[in-house]
């Protein structure tokens, strides 16, 4: 079954109201100016079934044709945002595209919240044939906020103008309560949230987004909210505001009030003649923005102090990630609380109500059963108001009405944090923060830009019989390049910018454009070559003395790890014929390595055997077959249980869980030690739930975690650049840990004080508190 016989038809309007035909349930949040529609859909994606093939079949058909694709069902949440004045058109669009599920919708209801839920009840009913269930606005906001804080990486952040970095993203915390939520809509509501069910509206103010917009409309000619914000960006409030120095001639030292502090907003505008051009619109807009955001900040701060809340999250759609407004609010809160209260902004501030409304009674989203992650391909960043151009969008009416969208995919398995982290609260997977480190940011963005054509070629090659492959691959290229450009300008737009997020974006986009596994052929070929060499390799190892063998096993992991299509310099080497395992061995850095913990490791191996080792593996081919499997075999021989943890879904040429299972079966045939370990479950392959080349230990498959805990893991092995260098290099564990990687990037190697192919071999005893 190839994609010829079962084509997956990509809708042309892939990026707007994506997958609407499969929409299962709707919710809508209708605000005074903006409406957000949420829907849940199931997505069909091709995944490759990597099972045993019959020898004859393989000889007859080319490899590619013999591949078996499976259609896997995923769940996705979509959130679309548009101006309320276009609600009718948007509902029409939904109605027209609901054909496949219209019957399914009959007699069902849509959850609705926001002020407009009352006003538009009939319209919704008429257009969609759904009855309307109204949900309380504030409880929806809170539910949505809880959901984002729990599921969304880097959702909340602080903003400090002119600091480096200006944006600091908060780690998702298991305990999100208590917090204060300030929702800035037309007016402002202030909520105290103590648990999922316990919350209270403690206050509010009528000076909110509607005041800014209403006064802005009266005093400037700005046509839209964003235009007004742009004006504010250009203006100078000092022409309208009376500053302390306008009254005092300088600072008011006695009270510690600096001269530049605003003493009276708009105080200089008294006696202005109406419609006079005495004051520029930009100056007015800026003064207005400061007036409103300072005021909201101050009032929020007073409530926080009164209720002793150390954190304030801001929701609503007033801030829109606008630096000036966030600065103003942060400044006010910091000033009035003397630094005691923290202002936190949300990347998806505008979606809280819609998410919450959707979640009301939604089984699909039971937080005990499911975890969610942002789809980097489908989400348009919130930290900017101009939507990234979607080249793939034809000009359909709703397309240009859409102000933003968010997509979240359900993890196939629920995920949780690895319990062996020594300091889970402060664990950050990523070694380098590219928001802060501008030199590294520039390098990596350029590096990925240069590598894009390689991904494109690989993607096209992976589907030689598809007529649409080239077109899709080019869409992928355009979108990735425009994303890189965007991140260059606004590196904080999708949360913390890291090598991991840049790599994950590639994976998300490739899947979105229906390239489920571009390296499939490569992986398969390399596995076969490596498998052919394995028996000889094992014999060779078995002949060696124990100490030499154990050294050789580490060197073999390192040599195997050099075969990596993700690393541009190695990919170039491998493209030349004849670069084999022995060549790789010979290219390894001479000892002492850049980080050389080999002696400690060998010393440790003289001691008692480990109970159980969890090995987080990297590439297919030589890496897994000639590097990791012999190493695992050695541990097994010592009586250690071994759990090989592989990606659950493909990423680059990384070995996946299902591929690994098949490999182990084959190895079992040729090696009795492996065979017996497999049969007694002393050797296991398991999926991590991850689908990227890096490893975020906050999001590991719960099933795997359970097994690791039950097996009393006392050794964690992290292998490869993605898992031991770009991420987790500095992570500490409550058990022993071995980190092994070859640095296959010249720039990074140099930066760390080494050369190309420098070796990281770090053995760490269990961390003591």
């Amino acid at each position: 079954m190839t994609d010829k016989t079962n084509p997956i038809d990509l809708p042309d309007n892939i990026r707007v109201f994506d997958n609407l035909r499969n929409a299962k349930r709707f919710a809508i949040d209708i605000g005074g100016s903006l409406t957000k529609i949420a829907y849940y859909s199931t997505t069909s994606q091709r995944t490759v079934f990597y099972g045993p093939l019959n020898k004859d079949e393989q000889e007859e058909a080319s490899l590619e044709e013999a591949l078996v694709y499976e259609i896997s069902e995923g769940a996705r949440l979509h959130f679309i945002k548009f101006e309320t004045r276009f609600i009718s058109q948007c509902l029409d669009f939904i109605q027209q595209h609901l054909v496949n599920t219209r019957d399914h919708m009959l007699g069902k209801s849509i959850k609705a919240t926001g002020g407009g839920a009352y006003k538009y009840t009939e319209l919704i009913h008429d257009k969609l044939g759904l009855s309307v269930d109204k949900e309380d606005e504030l409880s929806c906001l809170i539910k949505g906020c809880n959901f984002l804080l729990r599921n969304m990486t880097d959702e909340a952040f602080t903003f400090c103008r002119h600091a480096n970095p200006e944006y600091i993203f908060m780690k998702a915390q298991p305990n999100i309560f208590p917090y204060m939520l300030v929702n800035i809509g037309s007016g402002v509501s202030i909520l105290k949230v103590e648990s999922e069910d316990k919350y209270e509206r403690i206050g509010g103010t009528a000076t909110g987004g509607g005041t800014f917009w209403g006064l802005g409309k009266l005093l400037t000619s700005a046509k839209g909210f964003d235009e007004l914000l742009d004006l504010a960006e250009k203006g100078d409030h000092r022409n309208l505001d009376m500053l302390v120095k306008d009254i005092y001639g300088g600072d008011y030292e006695l009270l510690g009030l600096p001269g530049d502090l605003i003493a009276s907003s708009f105080g200089k505008a008294m006696h202005a003649k109406k419609d006079s051009s005495e004051y520029s619109e930009a100056d007015i807009a800026r003064s207005l923005l400061f007036t409103i955001s300072n005021d909201i900040g101050q009032i929020a701060c007073l409530y926080a102090m009164m209720y002793k809340m150390p954190r304030i999250y801001f929701g609503g759609y007033f801030l829109r990630g606008h630096p000036l407004s966030m600065h103003s609010i942060s400044f006010a809160i910091n000033y009035w609380s003397r630094g005691e209260v923290q202002a936190l902004f949300l990347r998806h501030e505008g979606y809280l109500g819609a998410i919450g409304a959707f979640l009301k009674g939604a089984e699909e989203c039971d937080s005990d059963k499911y975890s969610w992650k942002e789809n980097l391909a489908g989400s348009a960043q919130e930290l900017n108001f101009t939507i990234e151009p979607f080249e793939t969008v034809p000009v359909t009416p709703p397309a240009n009405l859409i102000l933003g969208q968010l997509e979240m995919d359900r993890w196939e398995h629920p995920v949780t944090s690895l319990p062996f982290l020594a300091d889970p609260d402060n664990y950050i997977p990523d070694t380098v923060d590219l928001n802060k480190d501008t030199e590294a940011r520039d390098y990596w963005i350029q590096c990925f830009r240069d590598a894009t054509c390689k991904y494109v070629d690989r993607a096209i090659q992976s589907q030689p019989h598809s007529e649409t492959a080239e077109k899709r691959a080019h869409k992928f290229r355009d979108k990735y390049l425009s994303r890189l450009q965007y991140l260059q300008e606004k590196p904080f737009a999708y949360g913390n910018l890291t090598v991991r997020s840049l790599l994950d974006t590639i994976e998300h986009l490739l899947k979105e454009f229906d390239f489920p596994d571009p390296y499939l052929m490569q992986k398969k070929q390399e596995n076969e070559i490596a498998m052919a060499l394995l028996p000889q390799r094992l014999q060779h190892l078995d002949k060696m003395s124990e100490i030499n063998r154990r050294t050789e096993l580490i060197r073999a992991i390192l040599a195997g790890n050099m075969f990596d299509w993700g690393a541009k310099e190695v990919a170039a080497l491998m493209s030349q014929n004849g670069f084999g395992f022995e060549e790789a061995m010979s290219k390894l850095q001479e000892r002492p390595w850049l980080v050389d913990g080999l002696d400690q490791w060998l010393q440790r191996m003289k001691g008692p055997a480990h109970k159980c080792a969890a090995i987080f593996v990297d590439n297919s081919g030589f890496d897994i077959v000639l590097g990791i499997i012999p190493f695992a075999r050695e541990l097994l021989k010592r009586g250690t249980r071994v759990i090989l943890c592989a990606n659950s879904a493909p990423a680059l040429n990384d070995v996946t869980y299902s591929e690994l299972q098949e490999l182990l079966r084959q190895v079992g045939v040729m090696c009795p030690i492996i065979q017996s370990a497999l049969q007694s479950s002393r050797l296991l392959a398991m999926g991590t739930a991850q689908a990227g080349p890096c490893l975020d230990l906050r999001q590991v498959c719960r099933g795997l975690i359970k097994t690791l805990v039950q097996s009393e893991v006392d050794l964690i092995v992290l292998e490869g650049m993605g898992r031991a260098l770009h991420t987790n290099l500095t992570a500490k564990f409550t058990c022993e840990c071995l980190k092994v990687a070859v640095i296959k990037n010249r720039w990074l190697a140099n930066r760390l004080g080494g050369d190309m192919f420098s070796v990281i071999c770090k053995f760490e005893p269990e961390a003591i508190d």
């Binding site: 005074g32 100016s33 002020g115 009352y118 309380d136 504030l138 037309s186 007016g187 509206r201 206050g203 103010t205 009528a206 000076t207 909110g208 987004g209 509607g210 005041t211 917009w213 209403g214 006064l215 409309k217 009266l218 005093l219 309208l240 505001d241 009376m242 302390v244 306008d246 009254i247 005092y248 001639g249 300088g250 008011y252 009270l255 502090l261 605003i262 003493a263 009276s264 907003s265 708009f266 105080g267 200089k268 505008a269 008294m270 006696h271 202005a272 003649k273 109406k274 419609d275 004051y279 007015i284 007036t291 300072n294 005021d295 101050q298 009032i299 007073l302 409530y303 009164m306 009035w336």
Partner: protein
């Protein structure tokens, strides 16, 4: 109530001390928008003194007390005049005069014409302008300014005036009922602790725990200056009086978005009444509604927005400080019963009557009075 007694010592020593402080006695409070001037007119001038009194001094006294308007910008609030007060042994009257700070140049010229510089070498002043205009006083009038702290002066003056005027302090009874609403005298003899909210161009909020014991706990830049500035931009009005006049004829409910505009009625779940403003100016994003509102409506909405905002910040401060009595002063309240009633309502309603909004007749002049009273102190120059 406080440290200053109206029946100050009248002994000869004191009297001669007072004499040593050369007349005329002024106190100035130069704010961001208004300059407040308090003049003490001695009424106990003995024939001997009258004979000695120089011509210039007499002329100044007559000029100030016989007129209630000075040039285009100066006004004397005759209704606030306090008679029969005693300052440093001298009995007389306080006259309350104000002019826009922007007219400071004209004021200085006038003072020069009247020969001020020939009488005294220094004047007591407080407020930001005491710093800002110090140089101008020296250059035009050859006068040095004795500068006194603004908040000290404010409290000093407040105490003195309250002591000397039995009907100084009042509150609004039934502030939301047009028919029943009335000013009621309040006995402020046991004032502490109280919150003092001074609404000038901006707003300062002080917690006062005892005589001279206070701290500035908060403030906001959304004050009288914001009201007037926005009103001028929105309506083209030219003065505070005009802005208030417009506001008194307007209706903010067409400009603001009310709770009932969103929810069709009360938002019961959170106890928010339907006629509560949910979003100030919230209806003005709509072109149709913009065309329906008048200048008066816009002025009213501006007044309500600024006043309610001050009300909520004040209420939060009072609750945070656990202080029940709140005294509002400052020239924003002048001829402004709408704002006072809104403040009264804001405090009463939202605090469920736990807080009391109090007002003072001489709302904007305490700083200037306090300054004058400190005349014999050295101040800082």
């Amino acid at each position: 109530m406080g440290a200053i007694k109206s029946d100050e010592c009248q002994c000869a020593a004191c009297r001669s001390l007072a004499m040593a402080t050369t007349m005329p006695w002024f106190g100035m409070d130069i704010g961001g928008t208004l300059c407040k001037l308090v003049y003490f007119e001695p009424k106990d001038i003995t024939p001997d003194e009258a004979e000695l009194e120089v011509e210039t001094l007499r002329n100044i006294r007559r000029y100030l007390t016989k007129n209630s308007a000075y040039g285009k910008d100066g006004h004397r609030d005759t209704h606030l005049q306090m008679d029969d007060v005693v300052v440093r042994g001298r009995r007389g009257s306080f006259h309350f005069i104000r002019f826009p700070t922007s007219a400071m140049g004209k004021f200085l010229e006038l003072a020069k014409d009247k020969g001020m510089a020939t009488l005294v070498s220094s004047v007591c002043a407080t407020g930001g302008g005491a710093y800002k205009f110090e140089k101008n006083f020296r250059e035009v009038l050859n006068l040095s300014l004795h500068k006194f702290d603004e908040l000290d002066s404010l409290l000093y003056g407040l105490q003195y005036v309250e002591m000397n005027n039995p009907t100084e302090c009042y509150y609004w009874k039934h502030p939301t009922r047009e028919d029943k609403c009335e000013k009621v005298n309040f006995d402020f003899s046991q004032p502490y602790p109280f919150l003092l909210v001074n609404i000038g161009s901006g707003v300062s909020i002080l917690a006062v725990y005892g005589p001279g014991v206070y701290k500035r706990i908060s403030g906001t830049s959304l004050g009288g200056g914001t009201f007037l500035g926005l009103c001028c931009l929105l309506t083209g009005c030219n003065s505070f009086e005009e802005a208030i006049e417009l506001a008194s004829k307007g209706d903010n409910t067409s400009v603001d978005k009310l709770v009932r505009d969103i929810y069709g009625g009360d938002y019961d779940r959170f106890d928010l009444p339907g006629d509560l403003v949910a979003s100030s100016f919230g209806n003005m994003n709509s072109k149709d509604k913009r065309q329906l509102v008048s200048r008066e409506d816009l002025a009213r909405a501006t007044l309500v927005t600024i006043t309610n905002n001050i009300g909520s910040i004040t209420r939060m401060c009072a609750l945070n400080e656990k202080i029940e009595k709140v005294v509002f002063v400052g020239n924003f309240l002048r001829v402004n019963p709408i704002a006072m009633k809104l403040l009264a309502y804001a405090l009463d309603y939202w605090s469920k009557k736990a807080l009391k909004a109090l007002f003072l007749e001489h709302e904007g002049y305490f700083g200037a009075v306090g300054c004058l009273l400190q005349l014999h102190c050295s101040g800082s120059s």
